[in-house]
Amino acid sequence: MTTSSKPDITPQSASLKAKGPSTDLLKQWLRDMLLIREFEVRTMQAYQNKKIGGFCHVYIGQEAVAVGCTAALEPNDPVVTAYRDHGHALARGMDPKYGMAEMFGRIGGCAKGKGGSMHFFDKEHHMYGGHGIVGAQTPLGAGLAFATKYEDEIINGGVSNRVTLSFLGDGALNQGSFHEAQNLAGVLDLPVIFVCENNGYSMGTAISRGTTMGHDITSKAAGYGFDSAVIEGMDVIEVYEGMKAVVDKCRETSRPAFVDMRTYRFKGHSMSDPRKYRTKEEEQQYAQDDPIDKLANELMNNRGLSRDEYDVMAKEVKKQIREATKWAEASPIPDIEELYRDVYVEKFGPYSGTSLPAMLED
């Protein structure tokens, strides 16, 4: 184990490639990232105003990862992640109002107010959860891949055609469950990609203090015989292009893969984290690598996005989140009967045909 307390990642402000995805697509991604950012800013406010309880972890700084990864997927590819899950749910297509209502503990929430910030679920958008226990989602990810392959091959008599993304934090590298999941994925040839959102820290523990070979975590995946990639996660185009290659290969070969996604969380681990374990200088350095600014600059400098257009987009996003927050606030708290519903399936009632529970009228 090395003893450096600095994360083993360095910001790269390499300019974005001019080629690649279309301008319209890039604008969409910019909007998606802005939406997540604004959602998280409002989340933090709401938490401070005590409208949100429990543990709450925001995704600010890591937006390019969820957006770029999702862009590399087909709409029906399953996704599963840990507790820092708002960005993945939104990137996957969940309406922010359901997320906000979830955190407000309202019946309109994506889990009827029963899951909270750490446990966002959205079946309609193939989002198999936020999971609160570090590492717990990684065997589930293997299981989702097992099921898509089983369904495609055994039930439908075709070829395996879906890819599962199983996100994890760098802290989860050290959980036994993750290693068992990798081994199973290898042994059973599962089409799952473990995307490690390597933001350099698990709570206050720098990666070099928590994991052996923290400077080169793909070496662990090599031990399982996986293909792996190191991707610059502060740049949505690099995330997309890097992931597209990994996803396409996984879909084709039905072999697991591992991605060391270099990123940074701009805020504390949770709402109560004074961040004494890292320096202001380091934070400032990464702030200059903001994935949203980076894409906005690219669009403005090389793709003809005007300042006005950008402002309109940012305004729209703000409005959307404001309305989502209003909607969430108007959603009622769950009836007490809800406490006893969903414990067993027979109490669940007929499946409504959408992932989302009975909602208020729009």
Binding site: G54, R106, G113, K114, G116, Q175, G204, I336, E338
Partner: protein
């Protein structure tokens, strides 16, 4: 003894620090216990005093560091293993349930396991079902372990010192909701023995038995009930294993009624065990069957109103006491 008012978390820290000063075999290990000063600041300053070889930060590898510490205990060291939350101990279920409590027996008495596992237990406030485990009933089912649940800062220090000195594995269940409460704690070294319940409020009409945080709800309920003319005797069991059934029985013989309040689920629980033992010992003294108040039999919900309803709150305790004493 010189006492002063300190927080629950400081009392825990004092217990650990005093024992570590006394006994070099004692060390503290867990996630964020050293450089971060503890996720809940229980171990604040301990790294500075004892250094990184005795206050040890671990990766998020509960199964690994729990198992490793059990190995160290087999060699005679006396680890204090902090789980940030007992909810996370579930990924270490095999070492803490299959190794620690059975080691002495399985080795025919050769290898003991003097280890303390400690951390937050129970609902922390809207943490959702994965983070709100009350492990007492589930784990108390296992022979070979001891289990303590402190309610006051005084007991936090005294019981933890007893736990660290104990030659058997001790599961020490704290509550995040209690860590900031203050109480009088002697500066000097003292211990609180295991297996000695304490009457927190004397009364003549109904015995209420509980452990840890729910005792607050019990005392709140007892106040309300006193205004209705029902004087409850509230007993703090302090340790679940060993269980001081004698104190409970003596009280029930006096009051003839008993309500057990247990924050874990009702099925096969600490509450059902105590009820069963009270029925056995007090069959002729009871004027009604023992009533139990538990967490509702559902996973912990996130929504505030649902969580409040799920917990064994004062309202439910009052209802149980009124129901059980209706024929008084």
């Amino acid at each position: 003894m010189t006492t002063r008012t300190i927080e629950f978390r400081e009392a825990l820290r004092e217990a650990m620090s005093e024992e570590m000063r006394e006994d070099l075999r004692v060390f503290l290990i867990g996630e964020e216990v050293a450089q971060y000063n503890g996720a809940y600041k229980v171990s604040r300053g301990m790294l500075d005093e004892f250094g990184p070889k005795r206050v040890i930060d671990t990766p998020i590898s509960e199964s690994g560091f729990a198992g490793m510490s059990i190995g160290a205990a087999m060699m005679g060291l006396r680890p204090i293993v902090e789980f940030m939350s007992w909810s996370f101990s579930l990924v270490a279920a095999d070492p803490i349930l299959n190794n620690a409590p059975k080691m002495l027996y399985m080795s025919g008495g050769q290898f003991g396991c003097p280890i303390v596992f400690r951390g937050n237990d129970g609902a922390g406030g809207q943490l959702g079902s994965t983070h709100s485990w009350c492990v007492e009933s589930m784990f108390a089912n296992v022979p070979g372990l001891k289990m303590a649940i402190p309610f006051t800062p005084y007991d936090a220090k005294g019981l933890l010192k007893t736990a660290i000195r104990d030659d058997d594995p001790v599961f020490f269940l704290e509550s995040e909701r209690l860590l900031s409460i203050e109480g009088e704690v002697p500066e000097e070294s003292y211990t609180v023995p295991f297996g000695q319940a304490l009457i927190r409020r004397p009364g003549t009409d109904c015995t209420i038995v509980s452990f840890g945080r729910p005792l607050y709800f019990c005392l709140e309920a007892a106040k309300t009930l006193a205004q209705e003319g029902i004087e409850c005797e509230v007993i703090d069991g302090r340790t679940i294993k060993p269980l001081d059934i004698d104190t409970i029985v003596a009280s029930v013989r006096k009051t003839n009624y008993c309500v057990v309040v247990d924050q874990s689920w009702s099925f096969a629980s600490v509450g059902s065990e105590i009820a069963s033992q009270v029925h056995q010992h007090c069959f002729d003294d009871l004027d009604n069957h023992v009533m139990r108040v538990h967490n509702d039999d559902v996973p912990a919900p996130y929504a505030y109103n649902l969580e409040q309803e799920m917990l064994p709150n004062a309202r439910k305790i009052c209802e149980a006491v009124r129901a059980v004493t209706y024929n008084a």
